[in-house]
Amino acid sequence: MKDSGFDAMMFGRLKAGDEAAFKCLFEHYYVPLCLYSVQITESPEDSEDIVQDFFVRFWEKGFYRTVDTNLKSYLFNAVRNLSFNYLKKQRTYLFEELEERSLSLPEECTEDDVREHHRHLHEAFRRLSPQEVRVLRGIVFEGNTYKEVAQEMGISVNTVKTYLARALKFLRMQLLLGIIFICFLRIFFSLCHPFL
């Protein structure tokens, strides 16, 4: 069900204090709200806590009575503010404005969207050859020199440079992102299981 239709249906019943409607609302928005929050907190457990706490207060303190017609914006804004508050208590927060710019929109926080983004990104990596990946790992993730990687792979330094250039060029074409690939790869290798 599209969110706007769902919201319209929920809205009236919520205002009347219908608890079954509240449960329905919860089930519809729980995962997207957690996924939205986790972009900020980077901790699924803490995001789940934040979203659950919010829903409990939303119901018990009767915020559903004062809510405007745009239920979805209200929910996502509230969770976003709570998540940022949580984050600020954890550490000093630099470049706030740029971080906010990079957030996925609420519409993009469904389970399907998240899986699709991941799949699309990794499809590109999968199309590299094993040598190209090894060179990327060696130079970028492990921070080795060209010479060290060349020795490890039993090839010349020039060949290493060629592989690296090809891999980066391919990724740039696929993802249209320039330098970021290199940085992303380091995160990618550290966050996920290496795919080789």
Binding site: K23, F26, E27, Y30, V31, C34, L35, V38, Q39, E42, P44, E45, S47, E48, V51, Q52, D53, F55, V56, W59, E60, R91, L94, F95, L98, E99, R101, S102, L103, S104, C109, E111, V114, R115, H117, H118, L121, L177, G178, I179, I180, I182, C183, F184, R186, I187, F188, L191, C192
Partner: protein, 377 residues
């Protein structure tokens, strides 16, 4: 700024390792142009998408609603000033008890799982005939039950109270509780093996069509007959003409049909699909997924054996919970995805089965109240 330096700063930022001078360098670079800022934002965007994907595997939405309800109850009780004192008192009490326990259990620390969990599954079923007669049958006992007598309303059979007197006189039911299994032969010669937590309903005699309905899991060896045989399970119909197959239709799990011999056709919300021997059908949203499997392995339970082949722990736990009539809970959700291959005899105790699993993996079990707690070693 040189490429290598830029990405080094990005990564340091992500890991929180920016020094004061690094921070200034990055800030200056970002202020220099919109293109620079765009690059940084793109980088941050990808990092966030990966975090979201990682999180997907760790969220527990099914437990969320209950967790919310617990929070609400907790907050309500905590608001009352007397409750706060009561809670404090209980905590102090618990701490004392905990220390007392420590003394007595330190000697018994060598208690093995086999001793902690002697639970066994066994042959047991409850029959309800069309005439309204009820009896329970195990390996060693045969007991008539009066549905109206409170004594027969054990936790498994509480629904007996509501048994209506105006029943279809030909309809019969066999109920296998948690911790039980049963095999029987129907009037047409069809053999049925029922797994724990299952119910089979059939009419006697059969009409022009042999129809049974199933909740839970059963393995059928259908006797050849001109009349087709149908199994109704979870809104699907499995049609056969003389064949051997397993139907798994537990609440909360997708329907699964595994064909050992012969032919079956499955009809339901997923469309209709004919299976060949060695094929296993699983109900997905609006469709049926079919894979080839080792049918003998899938039906090993009828021969007294659990056979796990790269099976994820959460499926193993479900099967153990039903056969040994026990509840198990996880210290963390990612344990559910650990996979196992191996064989365990069903006649062994729960403790024995857990010890086997513990031996070959990073998982360990302990007793928490009446439940089994699953943790990483």
């Amino acid at each position: 700024m040189e490429e290598k330096r830029i990405y080094t700063l990005f990564i340091k930022y992500k890991y929180g390792r920016l020094s004061a001078s690094d921070r200034e360098e990055l800030r200056a670079w970002l202020e220099a142009s919109e293109a620079n800022r765009e690059l940084f934002v793109s980088f941050l965007r990808i990092c966030k998408q990966e975090v979201q994907f990682e999180a997907l595997g760790q969220l527990e939405p099914d437990k969320a609603w209950d967790a919310c309800r617990r929070r609400r109850l907790f907050r309500r009780y905590l608001r009352h000033p007397l409750t706060r004192w009561a809670v404090a008192a209980v905590l102090v009490g618990l701490v004392c008890l905990w220390y007392a326990r420590w003394d007595t259990t330190s000697e018994a620390s060598g208690t093995s799982l086999a001793e902690l969990f002697p639970n066994h599954g066994h042959r047991e079923a409850l029959f309800v005939s069309g005439q309204g007669q009820v009896w329970s049958q195990t390996d060693s006992t045969f007991v008539w039950l009066d549905p109206k007598a409170p004594a027969s309303h054990t936790s498994d059979y509480r629904w007996l109270k509501d048994l209506s007197s105006s029943r279809d006189k030909r309809s019969n039911e066999v109920h296998v509780p948690r911790g039980g299994e049963y095999s029987l032969v129907l009037a047409d010669g069809t053999k049925v093996w029922l797994n724990a937590c299952s119910t089979l309903r059939f009419s006697y005699p059969f009409d022009s069509l042999r129809v049974v309905s199933l909740e839970g899991e059963a393995y059928f060896e259908v006797a050849h007959d001109r009349k087709p045989f149908e199994v109704h399970a979870a809104g699907n119909v499995v049609r056969v003409l003389g064949t051997k197959f397993d139907v798994r239709a537990y609440a909360g799990q997708p329907l699964q049909v595994t064909l050992a011999e012969g032919r079956v056709q499955v009809d339901g919300a997923g469309g209709d699909r004919r299976l060949l021997p060695g094929e296993q059908l699983t109900e997905a949203v609006g469709t049926y997924d079919v894979h080839e499997v080792d049918a003998r392995r899938a039906t090993a339970w009828t021969r007294g054996v659990f056979e796990f082949d790269d099976t994820p722990l959460d499926e193993i736990v479900r099967q153990l919970e039903r056969w040994y009539n026990v509840d198990m809970d996880y210290a963390s959700a990612d344990l559910k995805h650990i996979r196992f291959t191996g064989t365990i005899l069903r006649k062994e105790s729960l403790g024995y089965a857990l010890e086997m699993i513990q031996k070959v993996s990073d998982v360990c079990f302990s007793k928490k109240g009446e439940c089994v707690r699953i943790e990483k070693k």
